[in-house]
């Protein structure tokens, strides 16, 4: 039993902790507040507490937890809402008092089906059983490796019961897993497979692949949270882990309510049956916010190991970095850029590197895709968290305040964003590559022309260039803008995305052709393009018909 000697906010110094290990869990004071050892010097330790430490005093007891900070994984995860340490918030009462005993998952029994026979060998990571009433997917129980010396018959069992003994180890439905170290896998896969998000600007211009990494930097009011929520709702992953890391409580409440209401287009069940929400909002304990990122990725890796595609959405990684800065500053670490600790870049890299599409230990294919929001102070994209994040992610969706103020949502800037996976993803799909190149080219040209038109006036530009401006407008309004509030438009299937893009490209090509043949730019601009601009609100089969209406109308100019 150790004793507290110093308390300064979440920084707690403890003596007489002989035998303790770095990152071991420590329980502080009479209320057993959890904390983690971050410095060891002989038997003295510096502990970062995960809860508010008001009232904790020198002389209070401190107990070794015996293991690093761990999260409870199990069939209860899907459909639940948890705090940064993965303790359930559902059913925890309206106020979170650190002195109250920590909530545990509701006691219930799960329907277990064995999938191996007693006496067989089950290699590490292979499936030995399944639980079918734990969300929209079978929850798989994986082998720790060895001979199955006992396994229970199909039936309902409470979570703490051992359902099998494999290689001398009891296997339960739930288990504790340290969160700061990545779960192992057999090998990384090189081949790229797209993650479909249902957001046109992302899927066509700036795609992300399964096992890829993406970051969304943007100042406040640019629509980060809405874009991330859209992806959480509609991307075609098996499991979505949504981490509210130091963000607004009312928005978290909104996400939870919406996920519970919306229907999963693939399974017909509720969307929340495939999501795990980690809600450590901005006024919940700061160090639990720091941990929430790791618990979230650990949950995703856990489902990856069952052979599923998991997506982690972290809103926002800046708050995580700030929590690290705050603690570093209290513990007297030498600051690097803007007060962040010197390990900011390596910590960010290590976080994003936990993404990947892999062959699991059991031979299945699974993936963890990480999408992190970045909240740059003052909207300054050169600040350290944004700058380092840009180096480590493969896709960047930069949100632009000017676009947001013009009510262009999602306000993804096509100039400042990038995706380093586009080529790999369109190999063997030349049509996709051509479509992407053409839309990107037209947007870039329109940007150049807009700058020019602001100097000399659009009327002074030659006809061809005026059509270039028109093309930019059509693509922005008819394709890039997508309403998160519209039932029809919130989600756009890839085929529909291609269809709308092709329709707009065909119209632009016709306009260009007309002015080449002497039709005045003004008369082309005067045509009514609204049928195609509103096509995104129309049912799928109508897009082509609407395109034809506009093309026919243009034909009258000849």
């Amino acid at each position: 039993m150790g004793a507290v000697t110093r308390v300064n906010g979440p920084l707690v110094e403890v003596e007489d902790l002989a035998g303790a290990a770095m990152f071991e869990l420590v329980l502080l004071g009479p209320h057993k507040l959890p904390g983690e050892i971050v410095t060891l010097s002989g038997s003295r330790a510096t502990v970062q507490a995960y809860e508010y430490t008001g009232g904790l005093a020198p002389g209070d007891p401190a107990d070794r937890g015996g293991a690093p900070m761990s999260a409870l994984l199990g069939p209860h995860l899907l459909g639940g809402v948890y705090d940064g340490l993965l303790r359930p918030l559902t059913g925890a009462g309206p106020w979170l008092d650190p002195a109250a005993p920590p909530p545990t998952p509701a006691a219930r029994a799960w329907g277990f089906t064995p999938l191996v026979e007693q006496g067989r060998k089950a290699a590490r990571g292979t499936v030995i059983g399944r639980v079918d009433d734990a969300g929209s997917l079978p929850y798989l129980i994986l082998s720790p490796g060895g001979e199955v010396s006992a396994i229970r018959q199909a039936g309902r069992y409470p979570h703490e019961v051992a359902v099998a003994v494999v290689g001398g180890t009891e296997v339960r439905l739930t288990r504790r897993q340290p969160v700061r170290r990545a779960l192992p896998y057999a090998s990384r896969l090189e081949e790229t497979v797209p993650l479909t998000t249902g957001q046109r600007v992302v899927d066509l211009l700036l795609p992300v692949c399964l096992g890829g990494t993406a970051a969304v930097p943007g100042g406040f009011g640019t629509g980060k949270t809405v874009l991330l929520q859209q992806i959480a709702k509609w991307c075609d992953a098996d499991v979505v882990v949504y981490i509210g890391c130091g963000e607004r409580g009312n928005e978290m409440a909104d996400v939870v309510a919406e996920l519970a209401e919306l229907t999963d287009p693939r399974t017909g069940g509720r969307l929340s049956d495939r999501t795990v929400v980690i809600a450590n909002t901005s006024n919940m304990p700061m160090m639990a916010r720091e941990a929430s990122i790791y618990t979230g990725v650990t949950v995703a890796e856990h489902f990856r190991d069952m052979g599923y595609a998991a997506v982690v959405i972290a809103d926002s990684t800046s708050r995580w970095a700030e929590a690290r800065r705050e603690f570093a500053s209290r513990s007297g670490a030498l600051p690097a850029e803007e007060g962040y600790p010197a390990d900011l870049a390596s910590a960010l890299a290590a976080f994003y590197e936990r993404a990947g599409r892999v062959t699991t230990l059991g031979g299945a294919t699974g993936s963890v895709t990480i999408i992190g929001a970045v909240s740059p102070p003052g909207g300054d994209l050169t600040e350290p968290v944004t700058a380092h994040t840009e180096r480590f992610v493969r896709t960047l969706w930069a949100l632009d305040r000017d676009l947001a103020y013009a009510r262009h949502y999602p306000a993804v800037s096509w100039r400042e964003s990038f995706s380093r996976d586009t080529e790999a993803l369109t190999q063997g799909a030349p049509e996709d590559a051509a479509r992407r190149a053409r839309v990107g080219g037209l947007l870039a040209e329109a940007d150049r022309l807009t700058a020019l038109a602001e100097l000399v006036g659009a009327g002074a530009l030659p006809a061809r260039e005026r059509i270039g401006l028109l093309a930019g407008r059509l693509l922005r309004e008819g394709f890039l803008q997508q309403s998160a509030l519209s039932k029809q438009d919130a989600y756009c299937r890839p085929e529909r995305t291609a269809l709308i893009a092709d329709a707009l490209l065909a119209i632009v090509a016709r306009c260009q052709d007309l002015v080449e043949h002497g039709v005045s730019a003004a008369s082309v601009e005067d045509r009514d393009f609204s049928p195609i601009l509103r096509a995104k609100e129309a049912p799928g089969e109508e897009v082509v018909a609407r395109c034809d209406i506009v093309l026919n109308e243009l034909e009258t100019l000849r």
Partner: protein, 457 residues
């Protein structure tokens, strides 16, 4: 309370800025509340910032001026600061620490609560969905306050943001449901405080107001406590006494400067513009105390008011505030008339859920969107007119300029003592859109236009 008088410590080792270091303490916890008694016998108060074995660093709320190391006595209360809570706060005027300034008795309550509060469980939050009517047309029509929301008023310096906050505090109501206002002033001048008191006189005499006044010449450190006391009182009124509470926090820039002062005195490593690295967490611990709880009738709406130093919205205080609040009302000098609200830069993120049929008016969202789209178009037309002259504009562009003009005079402009009903606000909003030709009003439904459009074409 124990029967024994608390141990008084006399071994003050060091005095530095607002901090004193007390030696030889035992069982003193972090964030504990302390009483400091100097030679003169007056009582001061403090919070424990750091405990290291037998040393406690105490931040003195009233400042350390005049304290002597050898004659100052310090007693610790054994727990973080708690205040009494209850209906007794209604109709009272207190200083920034909650001590009466209105020559009334000290405030007692049936219960007490820690001023730091507890975080609200996100799963127990009810998403905000009903409006608070402010009687200010530009707010009610375009950036409606929603019960349980937090929304900030940002102002370029010299603009009457405080008048606007006081007007909202004086006029706001929830259509008959029990309603309270808690106005927490931080670092206000005496003149400003007098204006606030005058404006809120009627509300105060109806016992619907709690006024906490930390003035510019009051102790700076006390400012750190003022908003927390306000919110602790509010939580009890809202969630135990089932009232809808509006908490106005003015001026948050003064609050943040006080936080910076303490941080500097503690020798912390500064972050942006020397504000501490935990400014975001600290502001969140205040603003996030807004909300509603599932299954309980009350609500807390938080309205932080702050001047943007040098008019800079990327300054850390407005920037971090904007990251936490659910929208902002921006006052700009470019809008020449009171209340100076810039309709295009102002935003209420919760408005979508809080207005419409059964709440305000069925066409409310469409009407707001139509006005904003029109103003945006008018702004472009105005810029073009500056370049090429108004005569070169198209007829449509000219109608948008007329619409913007009507918006400024009919809807936006309002006297600081003028309370408009929702009905009147919508009447005026329809007059504004009716300056546009009907074919331009694509965002409004045919039914709504049929019923309320007054234009000529």
């Amino acid at each position: 309370m124990t029967a024994w008088a608390p141990v008084e410590h006399t071994s003050v080792g060091e005095l530095r800025g607002p901090l004193i270091v007390v030696q030889g303490v035992r069982n003193v916890g972090w964030d504990e509340y302390a009483t400091i008694v100097p030679e003169s016998g007056e009582r001061r108060h403090g919070l424990v910032l750091d405990v290291d074995r037998d040393l406690a660093v105490v931040q003195v709320l009233e400042g350390t001026g005049g304290l002597k190391a050898e004659s100052t006595r310090v007693a610790f209360t054994g727990s973080p600061l708690r205040i009494p809570v209850g209906a007794g706060w209604q109709g009272r005027v207190c200083n920034g620490r909650g001590r009466p300034l209105d020559s009334g008795p000290p405030i007692f309550g049936d219960d007490s609560a820690p001023v730091t509060g507890f975080p609200m469980n996100p799963t127990m939050r009810e998403p905000p969905a009903e409006p608070v009517i402010t009687g200010v047309s530009a707010i009610d029509a375009l950036t409606t306050l929603v019960r349980g929301q937090k929304i900030a008023i940002f102002a370029e310096s010299g603009l009457p943001h405080l008048e606007l906050a006081a007007q909202v505090a004086a006029q706001a109501h929830t259509g008959g449901a029990p309603f309270n206002v808690i106005f927490a002033a931080m670092g206000l001048t005496h003149a400003d405080a007098a204006m606030v008191r005058d404006t809120l006189e009627r509300r105060s005499s109806a016992a619907e107001l709690t006024l906490l006044l930390n003035l510019a010449d009051d102790p700076v450190i006390e400012r750190l406590l003022t908003p927390r006391i306000a919110l602790t009182v509010a939580e009890h009124l809202a969630f135990d006494l089932r009232r809808h509470v509006l908490v106005v926090l003015a001026d948050m820039t003064s609050y943040c400067e006080a936080l910076r002062e303490v941080s500097a005195a503690r020798g912390e490593i500064p972050a942006r513009r020397a504000y501490p690295g935990y400014l975001y967490s600290d502001l969140a611990s205040i603003y996030e105390r807004c909300g509603r709880i599932r299954g309980r009738p009350g609500s807390i709406t938080v309205l932080p008011v702050l001047s943007m130093p040098a008019g800079d919205i990327t300054h850390p205080v407005p920037d971090l505030t904007g990251y936490i609040t659910e929208g902002q009302i921006l006052l700009t000098r470019e809008v020449a008339t009171y209340p100076h609200i810039d309709p295009l830069s102002s935003l209420s993120r919760m408005m979508r859920a809080g207005v419409g049929a059964g709440r305000t008016q069925p066409e409310h969202l469409d009407l707001a969107a139509q006005i904003q789209a029109g103003l945006s178009r008018a702004r472009q037309a105005g810029e073009l007119a500056d370049l090429v002259g108004e005569s070169a504009l198209s007829a449509a562009d000219r109608s948008y300029l007329a619409m913007a003009q009507a918006f400024g005079t009919r809807l936006l402009a309002q006297r600081p003592d003028e309370a408009r009903t929702l009905r009147e606000t919508f009447e005026r909003a329809w007059q504004v859109v009716s300056t546009l030709p009907r074919r331009e009003l694509s965002m409004l439904s045919e039914e709504a236009l049929e019923a309320r459009y007054r234009g000529t074409s």
